[in-house]
Amino acid sequence: MKKRFFMIVVAALTVSFLMGAPFCYSAESIKIAGIFALTGRAAHIGTSQRDAVILAIDDVNQKGGINGRMLEMVMEDTESNPTKAVMALKKVLESQDVVAIIGPTLTGTAMAMRGFIEKEKIPTFMHSGGDVILKAPLDKNDPNSLPKWTFKSPYKAADAMGKICQYMSKHGIKKIGFLYSNEGFGKDGLKNVKVQAPKYNVTVVAQEAFQPKDIDITAQLTHINAKGVDGIIAWTVGPAMGIIAKNIKQLGIKAPLFECHGAGDPIFWKVAGEAGEGVMMPSTKIVVGDQLPDTDIQKKKIIDYVKAYKEKFKHEPGTMVAYGADAAFIVIDAIKKAGPDRAKIRDAIENTKGYVGMSGIYNMSPQDHNGLSMKDIVMIKATKGSWKLLD
């Protein structure tokens, strides 16, 4: 009896080994790591960026891969937590031979991972919004020690802020209140608004912080409203986007609300409901692709991509999907050009010029590891569960 059982096990193992063999021994796949906030408070961003990257990789693999080698993504979750992000990064680097990293999602996690990435010398294309990732020196004592291996796909938060201020001054909004989530992304926004607002003759008369998980922000808004502002900017992603819109309605504040460049996502309507009506924000063109003028060179690319995205995932892409897609396509292009070599991939990414992406036209250089400009940003307005392109 025991012997027979043993024979069955051996037979089963042999068969499974033989069946698996053709896959095991074909050209080895090229591995990249995808590190996203799949859970935690930024999960809605992380998961849609993951989907965007999966779509890009599927696209390459269906066309036969890169020089006959399939592209494979090793996925890790940061749990929206900087400590977990570093652990995920170390785990990937120790256990897998990856040539590049895509992600992470949040600025806080990006800052935590950055030092390690630079030390390990692995090209990393981040989706995080904050500019500090590229601007803050790695060594506090040396202002020139800027990251060499780190890139980011979302346009500079400073430009997004500039776009809002520009729009405000064009529409006669002069005194504003600034509301920010008390973590990496929000604080980055605070620094930016202090630089950008004066450029467009807009004055920040009140600034208030809140915790990303707060369930009520009326106290801060009451304080801002008491200063007699004629516009409010709220710098956060996540449920607070909706809570602020609802609280503003509750308090009867008339000043228009502007949110950050991450708000243009289906999640916005889920958390804000009807209170979201009329909120304005800077965005990538991906959410208003069909409203773009035909002369726009991104239009066709965006419409094709959105169609493929909707077919695969059965829902509308948000503004963040553009960042995921662009990061993935640029990294894939770099691997195609340079082969699976970390240093060569890095150089190829840095030399990306005139790449027409979902978020805009990327022109990278050693000084600019983002490559987008304010021209690539559009202002949109939340209208009836969707988005309207503003002038």
């Binding site: 799949l38 859970t39 935690g40 999960a43 809605h44 998961t47 008390n182 208030e208 912080a209 809140f210 915790q211 998980k213 369930i215 009520d216 009326t218 106290a219 801060q220 009451t222 304080h223 409203n225 008491a226 996540g238 449920p239 909706g242 809570i243 609802k246 309605k249 509750q250 308090l251 009867g252 999640i267 889920k270 958390v271 804000a272 409901g273 009807e274 209170a275």
Partner: protein, 295 residues
Amino acid sequence: MDFSQQIAQYIVTGLTIGAIYAIVAMGFNIIHNATGIVNFAQCEFISLGGMFMYSLVVLFKVNLIISFFTSMAGVALIGAMIEIGPIRHARSKEIIILIFLTIGLSEILRGTAQEVWGTDNVGVPAFSGENPIHLLGGGTIVPQHIWIFAITVLVMLMLHYFFKKTLMGKAMRATAVNRRAAALVGISVNRITLFSFAFSGALGAVAGMIIAPISTTSYDTGIMLGLKGFAAAILGGYGNFAGAILGGVILGLLESLGAGLVSSQYKDAIAFFVLLLVLFLKPTGIMGYGEAERV
């Protein structure tokens, strides 16, 4: 908006948030009194309440009132299952082991909820519209705030009646005072424990449901509320019901007034600083009596 109106707004906000903290604190207290443990799965009761409500109201279009009570019953059942299963069959009845057990259960519940509902925050419609109401003394609220107040007060009154007047309530109090003695006079301690878990589940669910229309809900909303509720329970005196209400309201007011008047950046720090201060001066919490050790 003049200063007195601002203050009124901070107080109204603080009271609403405080009411939620108080209900959560009550949930912690009930299980503590019956078993002596801190039930960390309380956080998950809150999230589950919100998510059940969301599923029924938004996904299945069930009537609001039916959804409310079904969700409450559903989470109460989960609470009861936790007791019947792992808590009752734990081979060690050491308090610390049982507490760790609830941490594990909390992770399991959260993980399952994440698989079922995904990670997005979702909105639940307000119980009766979202048109703002202007209060006489200044300050504005939405109808949901009135619901939060009303339901909290009702829950408190019912709990008061239950613990003071009914046999079951008295039995629960007796068990809290001395499990062994309670068992000796014929109280089924197992049943009391079971009941306390179901009860806490229902309370957690109520907290999760009444706040959901304001804050939106997700598989992990309960963590933050649970933590604050726990702090409120400690502030008021762990295990003390009047203390839970007081602790909740004080914490809510501190946060809101702290954010409005001192600094929004340090509002949690202000609230927890006061918590620490109270615990230094009176380690048993504001209303706590402490434990009398028999020598």
